[in-house]
């Protein structure tokens, strides 16, 4: 049971004298295996919410429960462990460690987790194949296109089968073709492995892949609807 429950989440930022609302009493429950898109205008709090759920940032008040653990109350170290073992991240850009090859980037998290060398090499190769990067294992990030880099990031995020993948505008730097390839990949992984996806995006096409669409504005959730996604098998 990997459900995420946020209760009355509030977060403000201070910028000079101004107090900026990041999250304003957000209540949300996301169940295991959901495929959720967070949408909303720029500054509506999507990133802030993802960071709070992922334990990268702590809310000012409210609770975040994940598998019965209060994520908002964990110390830095255990929080890092939680991310290492349970959450995969995909950011908008610069997802990869530039001095490591694609294969090494994917293996890196497993190395830190303590997975044996042979096993992780195999897993990394398999997952790179699955995201369509066969033959590019030994390239450094600088030798890959934006879309390929994002797919390496996805491979890394899912290689140790986390419960949850958080993606913040993963397609923002990609062209249409690369975007739909990536979204199809997400859908497949969601279906095949029952990994929960929460994706923040501006992109209408990305939203069409979601089973559940949450709209935010000014740090609040203004709508939360189930929808029929376009199939993850096409494209």
């Amino acid at each position: 049971m990997s459900s995420i429950r946020c209760i009355q989440l509030c977060k403000t930022f201070r910028q000079g004298d101004e107090i900026i609302t990041g999250l304003d009493n957000v209540d949300i429950v996301i169940d295991e295996g959901e495929f959720v898109c967070l949408s909303g205008p720029s500054g509506s709090g999507k990133t802030t919410l993802l960071n709070a759920i992922g334990g990268l940032d702590t809310p000012d008040s409210g609770e975040i429960h994940m598998d019965g653990i209060r994520v908002d109350q964990l110390a830095k170290g255990p929080l890092a462990d939680m991310r290492l073992h349970n959450i995969g991240f995909v950011f908008q850009a610069y997802n990869l460690i530039p001095v490591l090859t694609a294969q090494e980037n994917v293996e890196f998290v497993m190395q830190v987790q303590g997975v044996a060398a042979a096993e992780r090499a195999q897993k990394a190769r398999d997952i790179l194949k699955e995201v369509g990067l066969i033959g590019m294992e030994d390239r450094k990030p600088a030798q890959l296109s934006g879309g390929q880099q994002q797919r390496v990031a996805v491979a890394r995020a899912i290689v140790s089968q986390p419960k949850l993948v958080l993606a913040d505008e993963p397609t923002a730097n990609l062209d249409t073709v690369a975007s739909s390839k990536l979204m199809n990949l997400f859908s497949q992984l969601n279906q095949n492995y029952n990994i929960t996806f929460i994706i923040a995006t501006h992109d209408k096409r990305v939203m069409s892949y979601a089973k559940r669409l949450i709209k935010m504005q000014d740090g609040k959730i203004i709508s939360d609807e189930m929808q029929t996604p376009v199939s993850g098998d096409e494209g």
Partner: protein, 416 residues
Amino acid sequence: MKGIGTINLPFRAMLVLSWRNLWRNHRRTMIMLAAISVGVWAMIFMTALMRGMVDDMLRQGIQNLPGHIQIHHPDFRNDPSIVNSIDAPSGDLLNALNDPSTKAWSTRIKVPAIIASERETRGINLLGIEPEAETIISGIGGQIIEGRFLLDRHDKGLVIGAKLAERLETRLGKRVVVISQDPENNIAERGFKVVGIYKAKMPGLEEFNVYAALGTLQTLLKIGNQISEITIVDDDFRDIEVLYQNIKQATPENLEIKAWYELDAYLKYMLNMMDGFVLVWVIIIFLALSFGLVNTLVMAVFERVREIGLIQALGMRPGMIVYQILLESLLLLLIGLGIGNLLAIITVKPLESGLDISIVAEGLAMMGASSMLYPSLTASDMILANTVVIILGILTSILPAWRAAKLDPVQAINST
């Protein structure tokens, strides 16, 4: 949730990351390596020169004692008179002295005396020696500049310093009178022919030490086969403990046995001062290096803020970030140390056969230094330099590493 609380240190992953990061900025790394190498070279090279000089002074001082270990009557060092003589070694002590592990030993008589030529009279230190063994121990046999050295323990001749000959206005072949006291406080005097004149490194000794054969003096002083002291040398003055303990075991209770560093507080002090100097010198150079090191690491962290944020987001504990940066610093230090040590060995080894410093050494001769400098590269000095660099290097790297670990992942990822 799986795996919370398990901490493992993925050494290989961190090593790969550190190594590649190190070579990201080739120029900076090379400059830093050059600085560390030259710094380490300077530490070791300079230490070897100083060590060589101090060793020389110590060796000289020990030759003047002479010997590494001495055995006396317990009162002799306070009152070096003939009354405080001891019997020639026998039994266990003799066996220990004759053991092959003893490089050389000798018995001597050492009494205050007066020497008179037909023109002058002076107070001297009269030494009764066994010529062969004495030469090994104090080197005196090799310092003869005129005439000959004593031939055996019954030689009737006298060997005096060039300076003393000058003062007495006497010369080789002339007769002089030596006056001392026997244990009954009767005057003991005897005429000697000057058979040899020596030149010592320290002019002070030349005026003071006068050598006669042991047997001849024993007869003159009416002390049978008694002696003033037994002196013993080992191969290396720095490494005499085993021999010292062995002989101490065999020495009768009523005798006093002392090592060179106990006999001459000044020599001991010089050795300690040298060790202190090495440490201070190594630390001073390190301090100069540490600015570069800290700067390099701060720059490396600064350039990599986003990446550090990323690996934090991926689940790297802050401690792991510290570990990775420290490993990077350690790699840099180890390579620098490797090159620096190599440079030091390459440059010091050819000089170990001697460096002529007579141009600058005139003044030093007064302190017992010779005009040749023999740089001495000791393992302990090298280990000290390397240990200081590694330990202090890691310590100074903690601050930049800790700053990296303190980065806020969200801000780090968003930084440009």
